[in-house]
Symmetry: C2
């Protein structure tokens, strides 16, 4: 057993080494997520304090998600954690984390085995995704015996008075609660995000051991290098296997001016009422618009928003990411732009950039875009689980039609800004993009969020097809759940 | 009266010119705030729609603050608008704005003359501040007669069903409500943010006239160039007038190790309870820590946070601003970091950088830092009006003590990262900084948020002084309101 002066010596060198490790992290732009777990009374807050004392506050944040807000409840559960993800080079301590809810609910016997398994799978997928993106995931589980936990809680009357009601279970049936917690720890002890069990009977030893464990992981664990491009392992996609669904898009389809006027008005009228209904039922529409350059995404979106009250929607443009966005996972900028329940978010280009332009232009490493299909499916699953209605459009046009539109843009003064060298470069790689589109459609068309391939050569036809699809999806979505 | 084909022609050239004006804005990094005002039924939403159709969505956002969230209610009123301020080069249309609340409340006779005057003064100061920072403030007031307004409302049953209850006043006593609105328009018709009255009887004409008015302002109005430095007009501060309060700080004051231990523990114990009490009463502490390099801000902050539950506070470091922060008013990054009611936000350096380092190093133009004193006082007034308890510390040390600490840092391996060339450069300009500090203390020591000058040569004394000041301010603040 270490003596108190022994601990003092260890603390001194630990603090120095932790600071050095933080500078190294900042240098190599490594982000770190630290989850502090344990039963009530294990000393989680005290450890967070100590780490805040020891670490350099310039590279550190603490997330204590104690008061939930309606803005959080209005988005999928993980939104509240995405908000607090550390940018590159920083550490965030999660005093309350994606484990908190499941720990309490499982201890209170509120989760059946299937629900628990689903939760654990979500957590594992989330941590896997962080790890794959180069974030180190450190999870500390503080272990105390019942007596110590209860004594420690009793000593802090103020804290005790502010514990959630659900914590009572631990005083009623400590063994059952402990078993419930252990099941969660065991079920989330993955190689890339292993639980570190910290003996927490003695407060000083607990902090030293936790700090030393953190230090070891900071200095020895290296998640995969983020987005490093390995041109040798370049993988051209699964062309051979592809069923060319794009070839089946009826690009000849047309609408006459008068049919268009009639249909457009009818669908817009429907959409206006559906948008209000979605608001009243607090359901969100998430609409993704992807397509070839000059396919007409912008003008189609304007036909969609025209009948909607401006209070009920927002259009999100995927422009160049800001430096804050670049310092996070590629999905972070889309999570941060999700609207609250009852409102529509229309994405003019989206997270699918990862498997389209970033794949084709080799901005993302093959392993990065290849795993993105799963990450995207999981993201959209979370949207649906929250009650969002997810609709995805690929606006398809023929190469000849694109050329016609490019030339029209070049020849029309007020459209010239819409055509750039990039557009011509992308056009030259039509086959590569087509291959990426086919993979995307195949790998991310889920039952609940299928892709709609829009016949875009005739803009009138395309707009009506989009409005009809949106109205049908809203009608169907609003009548369920 | 324009014919319909006349309007079509005007619309065509208007759209082209608006797009061009937007590119020019983006080029010169000019931000624009457009407030859409008018009584219910005037056609505000319709105009917002039309502008969304006409303008390039890449440089445009619409703010419809219709559903208020608890996160918004937990901060000063203007926080909800700061969230939506356009970055440089962008336009934000405010369908609901800082006028909405006052319009409704004044129409419902809920504001006495003094309260109304205060509101209008706040609005004028806010818009003045935006304008001074280089943001163009365009305010369109849509004018319709009673019949047209009511008819238009009646035509849109869905909208009508979603109007706030307070809108009923307009149907009960339209003339009184109109007079109440006119008083607000008249009281906020400032030169740098003039109201443009738009005849809105006819929907098509309304949109064309509003668009043309916007275009004219975008192309002819130029707010002061943002933060341009004019070295010729450099103003050295008000040295002659200064009462050198820094000279009166008792830098010799000391505490023995044992007195320190006793006092520290007593004050930390008090602070622990006060932090919980502030949480329970939903009052926020805003603590600002400024001081000389090596004055001990970081270690003092750690003594403050040590007794507080980690769920109850956040420390905000003023590191280099991100590009998102740089594209906004300098106060934006502090507004975005304010914690919710019941939690403490501790700023390790703060908005006072504007009148300290940015003044001395000439990063801000003289007119920019000179007007900042007023802007800061108004900001802190808003915090206090919301119920925040604002405490500000200047950690003072002598030049000799600073030298001693710099040398200590250079000679101690694990402290070397804390001393940079900047520190030595700043030290060489001690007199300039002192002058800036004296102006700051003189011009921003308000009754409700006075500066506390901390005697920092003895770290023990300084920490106890800070804790005592914080506890006293919390005790006094929590017993009022």
């Amino acid at each position: 057993m270490p003596t108190s002066s022994n601990l003092k010596t260890r603390e001194k060198s630990l603090r120095r080494d932790l600071l050095q490790a933080q500078f190294d992290l900042a240098q190599r732009e490594q982000s770190v997520v630290v989850v502090i777990g344990g039963l009530p009374g294990a000393g989680k807050s005290e450890l967070v304090h100590r780490l805040n004392e020891w670490l350099d506050p310039r590279f550190l944040a603490t997330c204590a998600l104690w008061m939930h807000s309606d803005e959080e409840e209005d988005r999928p559960y993980f939104w509240r954690f995405w908000r607090h993800m550390p940018p590159h080079g920083r550490i965030t301590l999660f005093l309350d984390s994606w484990y908190t809810r499941t720990l309490y609910e499982n201890a209170a016997d509120k989760l059946d085995p299937l629900a628990l398994q689903t939760r654990l799978a979500q957590i594992n997928a989330f941590e896997r995704m962080l790890y794959d993106d180069g974030t180190l995931v450190v999870k500390l589980w503080l272990e105390v015996d019942r007596m110590t936990a209860q004594q420690r809680l009793a000593e802090d009357a103020l804290r005790l008075a502010h514990l959630p009601a659900s914590a009572e279970r631990w005083s009623q049936d400590y063994e059952a609660a402990t078993n419930a917690a252990n099941a969660i720890v065991a079920g989330t002890d993955a190689a890339q995000a292993a639980w570190q069990r910290i003996p927490a009977q003695d407060a000083d030893k607990r902090d030293i051991i936790a700090g030393e464990t953190l230090l070891t992981l900071l200095t020895t664990q290296t998640p995969p290098v983020r987005a490093a491009v390995n041109h040798n392992s370049w993988f051209a996609g699964s062309e051979e296997l592809q069923n060319n669904v794009l070839a089946d898009v009826p690009l000849d389809a047309q609408l006459s001016k008068s049919d268009y006027a009639t249909l457009l008005e009818a669908e817009q009228h429907k959409l206006q009422a559906l948008a209000w209904r979605a608001h009243d039922e607090r359901r969100s529409l998430i609409a993704v618009f992807e397509g070839w350059d000059a396919a007409g995404k912008g003008s189609a979106i304007r036909r969609v928003t025209a009948p909607m009250d401006p209070r009920l929607y927002r259009v999100v443009q995927s422009a160049a990411p800001s430096d804050e966005e670049q310092a996070h996972h590629y999905l972070w900028r889309y999570w941060r732009n999700l609207e609250r329940s009852g409102r529509a978010t229309l994405f003019d280009r989206s997270w699918y950039g990862r498997v389209l332009v970033e794949r084709v232009e080799q901005f993302a490493a093959p392993q990065a875009w290849q795993r993105a299909y799963d990450e995207i499916n999981q993201f959209e699953q979370q949207l649906q689980d929250h009650g969002c209605i997810v609709v995805k459009f690929w606006l398809h046009i023929s190469p000849a039609e694109q050329l016609r539109r490019f030339q029209d843009r070049q020849n029309t003064p007020h459209k010239q800004h819409k055509i750039t060298d990039d557009d011509w470069r992308n056009r030259a790689r039509w086959a590569d993009y087509e291959s990426a589109v086919l993979d995307m459609v195949e790998l991310t068309s889920t039952a609940a969020a299928p892709w709609t391939l829009v016949a875009g050569n005739d803009k009138r036809y395309a707009r009506v097809q989009i409005l009809q699809t949106l109205c049908a999806a809203l009608e169907q979505g609003l009548s369920t759940q």
